[in-house]
């Protein structure tokens, strides 16, 4: 599904290159549940952003489901990620002015889905996450765990093939964190959604079937 070849990304300050990612080679197959680990500043989020096409690499080749992402234009790339990728954030990033229902609905509005279809899809999603009773509440009226559930529901509404999660449990207590991880596992196993998550916690990383360690922008290969 994803093939990264010699991916590097850097910033130049005072003529000096500081590598954020250096010579990353990585293949992720469809149906995998990958956890990216590493200390702060090791490039985890940058890697995730490159994979999510929110950021581009300075060097290297990126193949996403047969598309040469590195040679695509901004517009084509956004078409691509809109279609296949869902994002989940540590800080949930829900829109405060929208209800739970409307937050989940938002991606569909931008895909010009018909109103009746939207209703059905959001309704299904609410059912699945057992949030029907909370659909008219605003994000601030929910607990952190519930907000993250909404965030995941929103990421799933357009049926992505890939979910990118940047420390999805970072702001949650351990019980809430476990629930989210269980959900990810279920999505991965039952629905076949590919998941890439960034995490600090060994315990959460263990939910996946593969762990990638990053240090100073390089992948550390198990010795």
């Amino acid at each position: 599904m994803i093939t990264l070849e010699h991916i590097s990304k850097w910033v130049t300050t005072a003529g000096l290159r500081t590598f954020l990612l250096k010579d990353i080679n990585l293949t992720i197959k469809e149906g995998e549940f990958v956890s990216i680990m590493g200390p702060s500043g090791s490039g985890k989020s940058t890697l995730l952003n490159v994979i999510g096409m929110l950021d581009d690499a300075d060097e290297g080749k990126y193949d996403f489901m047969g598309n040469q992402v590195h040679s695509m234009k901004e517009k084509q790339r956004s078409q691509l990620y809109k279609q296949y990728i869902g994002f989940v954030f540590q800080a949930y990033h829900l829109i405060d002015e929208l209800t739970v229902y409307e937050n989940i609905e938002t991606p569909l509005l931008y895909q010009d889905t018909k109103s009746t279809e939207r209703k059905a899809m959001v309704g299904d999603m609410l059912d699945r996450f057992q949030m029907v009773g909370k659909k008219d509440l605003f994000p601030t009226q929910l607990s952190g765990g519930q907000q993250q559930l909404v965030g995941i529901a929103r990421a799933l509404i357009s049926s992505p093939k890939l979910i990118l999660a940047d420390e999805p449990t970072g702001n949650l207590n351990s019980r809430q964190g476990e629930e989210i991880m269980e959900l990810f596992k279920k999505l991965n196993e039952e629905d076949g959604v590919t998941i890439i998550q960034v995490t600090h916690s060994e315990k959460n990383a263990a939910y996946g079937n593969r762990i990638i360690h990053l240090l100073d922008g390089r992948i550390e290969h198990p010795r």
Binding site: D55, F87, D96, E97, T106, L109, Y110, Q111, R154, S158
Partner: protein, 808 residues
């Protein structure tokens, strides 16, 4: 999608209540002022537009070699010109000055009223112009001794009775004349030609009706007292006709005094065609431009506010924009969303502005001394300009904010790298500077206008104004016993203990002169001196002492000298300016030199110290004081005490000696104040405008500080933990804004100085602009800004840092 966006916009507004209030409120204040001033501008522009033939109608003007214009024309020219030049289809002569007098029904003891808005007009008045006739027949006005009344005036004299066919007696300088009512007319509020009563000009063709006033004879070309309107054949070149008319004037016996005829388009009778058009107009286009400018500036401040507040929100919006972009939103769809929000804010602002207009209308009308309503906006094409500007402004500001907000890069915003108020901060600062520059300039204008007004009101004009009561003289009942009654009245008056002094005169300080004429020379005069203008004041021997006006040379008139008939008298007094105009260096010299007034030899017996006879908006003219016992005005200096009792005493005497005349009086100082009404109106408008501008600008500043403080919460928290005091934090937050106000002041100073310098140039007597006014305006703006900022800053500085840092 639109519905979704609208719902979202409403929710956003409700969620950020302070922000919405400040934003919508600011817009509403700005639009309200704009609409009110638009009413006025529109009303002024609509003047005379009901006149159907305005397009080919012209007013005849005189222009002298000094390029001054006046519309009073000798009555004899129009008929001669029509006969000679086929380009003139028709003419209409009218006047509004010479017929003033006392009007009364021709029945027993009906009440008498002094009418001042009365005048003679050509027989075709109601055909030439488009005034609606409510009663009567336009053609009947061609007959002599016919009077047409305004609706209000008809009711005043006849109540519910049928006015047409009734008789009225008019007593004025033409004696006592009986007029028959021929009709009732209505004059729209936006007409420059205004009458309460019009008299048929044909009346003056009968020598008996002239009562010795031969200057008013309809064929004469010697005395200028009528306005003359000409209707020209379409396609006539006015400039060509002007030359022909001037040639006619020079040909028919007029010695060449350099005066030429000019034609002023009727369409520019109220407002000049441009600022360079120097023809006299009833309205003031300069004033209109200033008001339009102020209204647009205030609207601009309001829009700047809107842009500032909206883009300052970027910080809050950035996150949402990021999320939406990742959820698949295109920039266009985001622009659409923010545009809907912008339109909603503008629409709400407009609706609230309409409410404000409704509540402010009475106040505005009282300041402008007009009866305006929002309907007046539609009375001229100004509404198109107005609505176009409003629409364009809201679209432009809305689109700008939409573009600014939708441009965020999702990665940056979602990772909270956006710390300060973002990229638009330079634009935002520029807008704040502009707002405050406008406010400061308006404050400077306000202070200077009031200083000038105060100067006009308080400057010593060389005349005792306090306690001077002026009583208008009688017009009715001037029979053979009148002179005796006048003498007896003054004698009885002098016996009252509260009358300190009194005088009878043809004019009074603060009033206009009796007349202005030329033709004065002395043996040493240069060629051309005979065209210099001199103003005549008819006074008795008590006038100068009553007003405490000193003589600098010679002596005052003696009582017996004021009784000499007009033609027989040869003694006059001059003021110092007249002495200089005649070419004398020393006042004493004029006492020993004979002076010529055309063919008459005059002896100057004294020189009066210069005083401002007209108001202070005019320079002192050369004046000639002519001795006569005039009954036009009775000037009484009252002792202190109960003014109402004193007046009652005078009234009793007046009614006793002059029955059938209304008792009318005013105080000299109040009359002077009234002449500065325009300046007072200016002052009030500027005060309102500057207060308004400052309020809106402060609303914006308030909103901006709120956001600055929010965006710097973390910084403030860290600084406090590191030991910063409340004062340190307040200073930190206020410094930037005060700097902006400082820059604004530097921009405002030269602009305000230049504009006010130009305004003051119209006044011969004016204040010097002093530096402290500028300092004051800057200080006022800074203090207000500081209070606005301070409230927010102190609150931020007082907040608990632990709490702030935790929420980050």
């Amino acid at each position: 999608m639109f519905y979704h966006n609208l719902k979202l916009a409403f929710r956003t507004l409700l969620r950020n209540k302070i922000y919405s209030l400040v934003n919508i409120g600011g817009l509403a204040l700005g639009i309200a002022v704009f609409l009110l001033l638009l009413e006025y501008v529109s009303f002024e522009r609509s003047f005379n537009n009901f006149q159907e033939n305005a397009g080919n109608t012209y007013r005849l003007l005189n222009e002298d070699q000094k390029n001054s214009f006046w519309p009073e024309i000798e009555p004899g020219w129009a008929p001669r010109a029509k006969e000679k030049f086929p380009a003139i289809i028709d003419y209409c002569r009218l006047e509004s000055d010479v017929a003033k007098g006392i009007l009364q029904r021709n029945t027993g003891n009906a009440p008498a009223f002094r009418e001042t808005s009365i005048g003679f007009a050509e027989g075709n008045f109601f055909e030439f112009f488009s005034f609606p006739l409510l009663k009567g027949n336009a053609a009947s006005f061609h007959a002599p001794n016919t009077i047409f009344l305004s609706a209000g005036s008809a009711e005043k004299y006849f109540g519910n009775e049928e006015p047409v066919g009734q008789q009225l007696i008019l007593s004025n300088q033409f004696g006592k004349t009986i007029y028959q009512v021929g009709g009732v007319f209505e004059i729209p509020a936006n007409s420059d030609i205004r009458y309460d009563q019009v008299l048929s000009l044909e009346t003056l063709r009968n020598p008996a009706n002239l009562n010795g006033n031969d200057w008013a004879a309809l064929e004469n070309t010697g005395s200028q007292y009528l306005q003359t309107y000409l209707r020209l054949t379409p396609g006539t070149t006015p400039e060509l006709l002007e030359t022909k008319l001037t040639a006619l004037r020079n040909e028919v016996g007029k010695e060449n005094d350099g005066v030429r005829f000019r034609l002023q388009s009727f369409q520019h009778l109220h407002l000049a065609a441009s600022l360079n058009d120097s023809f006299p107009t009833a309205g003031n286009i300069k004033y209109l431009y200033i008001l339009s400018l102020i209204s647009v500036l205030i609207l601009l401040i309001a829009w700047f506010n809107y842009v500032n507040l909206s883009t300052a929100q970027a910080l809050k919006k950035a996150n949402e924009v990021g999320v939406r972009k990742i959820a698949g939103a295109s920039r266009l769809s985001l622009i659409g969303q923010f545009l809907v929000e912008a339109m909603l804010v503008n629409l709400l602002g407009f609706v609230i502005a309409l409410l404000l207009v409704y509540f402010l209308q009475p106040l505005f009308n009282s300041v402008m001394a007009l009866k305006l309503s929002p309907a007046d906006i539609l009375s001229s094409s100004a509404w198109m300009f107005g609505s176009g500007l409003l629409l364009a402004g809201s679209l432009l500001t809305g689109t700008y904010t939409a573009f600014a907000l939708s441009g965020f890069n999702p990665i940056v915003t979602l990772r909270n790298r956006l710390t300060r108020s973002g990229s638009g901060s330079r634009i935002r600062k520029t807008l704040v500077v502009t707002q405050f520059a406008i406010s400061i300039a308006l404050i400077i204008g306000t202070v200077l206008i009031y200083q000038q007004l105060r100067y006009l009101q308080e400057k010593n004009i060389g005349v005792t104004k306090a306690q001077m009561l002026i009583v208008r003289g009688p017009e009715a009942g001037k029979d053979s016993s009148f002179n005796q009654r006048q003498v007896a009245f003054l004698q009885m008056l002098s016996r009252y203990p509260f009358v300190e002094d009194y005088a009878g005169s043809g004019t009074y300080p603060g009033g206009w002169y009796n007349f202005v004429t030329s033709g004065f020379t002395q043996p040493g005069s240069l060629k051309g001196d005979e065209f210099k203008s001199y103003a005549f004041a008819i006074i008795d021997e008590r006038y100068l002492p009553a007003f405490e006006i000193p003589l600098v040379a010679g002596r005052n008139f003696r009582p017996e000298e004021t009784g000499i008939p007009w033609d027989k008298n040869n003694k006059v007094l001059l003021n110092e300016t007249a002495v200089a105009a005649l070419g004398f260096k020393n006042p004493d010299d004029v006492l020993h030199t004979p002076v010529q007034w055309d063919e008459r030899a005059l002896q100057v017996i004294g020189v009066v110290k210069d005083y401002n006879h007209a108001n202070l908006k005019k320079t002192i003219m050369p004046m000639i004081f002519y001795p006569q016992n005039s009954s036009a005005y009775c000037c009484i200096r009252l002792a202190s005490g109960s003014v109402s009792q004193h007046i009652a005493g005078v009234e009793k005497l007046y009614k006793q000696y002059f029955p059938g005349n209304p008792f009318e009086y005013f105080f000299l100082d109040e009359n002077y104040q009234r002449q500065y009404a325009a300046e007072k109106q200016y002052g009030q408008l500027f005060t309102a405008a500057s207060v308004w501008a400052v309020i809106i600008a402060c609303l914006g500043l308030f909103g901006l500080t709120t956001f600055t403080v929010t965006s710097r919460t973390k910084e403030i928290g860290i600084r406090k933990v590191l030991g910063a005091s409340v004062l340190d934090i307040t200073q930190l937050l206020s410094r930037d804004f005060l700097l902006l106000v400082g820059i604004a002041a530097l921009i405002a100073f030269p602009v305000a100085w230049w504009a006010m310098q130009r305004w003051l140039q119209d006044f011969p007597y004016r204040i010097n602009i002093s530096w402290w006014v500028f300092a004051l305006a800057a200080v006022i703006a800074s203090v207000i800004a500081l209070i606005t900022i301070g409230f927010q800053s102190v609150r931020a500085a007082l907040s608990n840092p632990v709490k702030n840092l935790r929420t980050e």
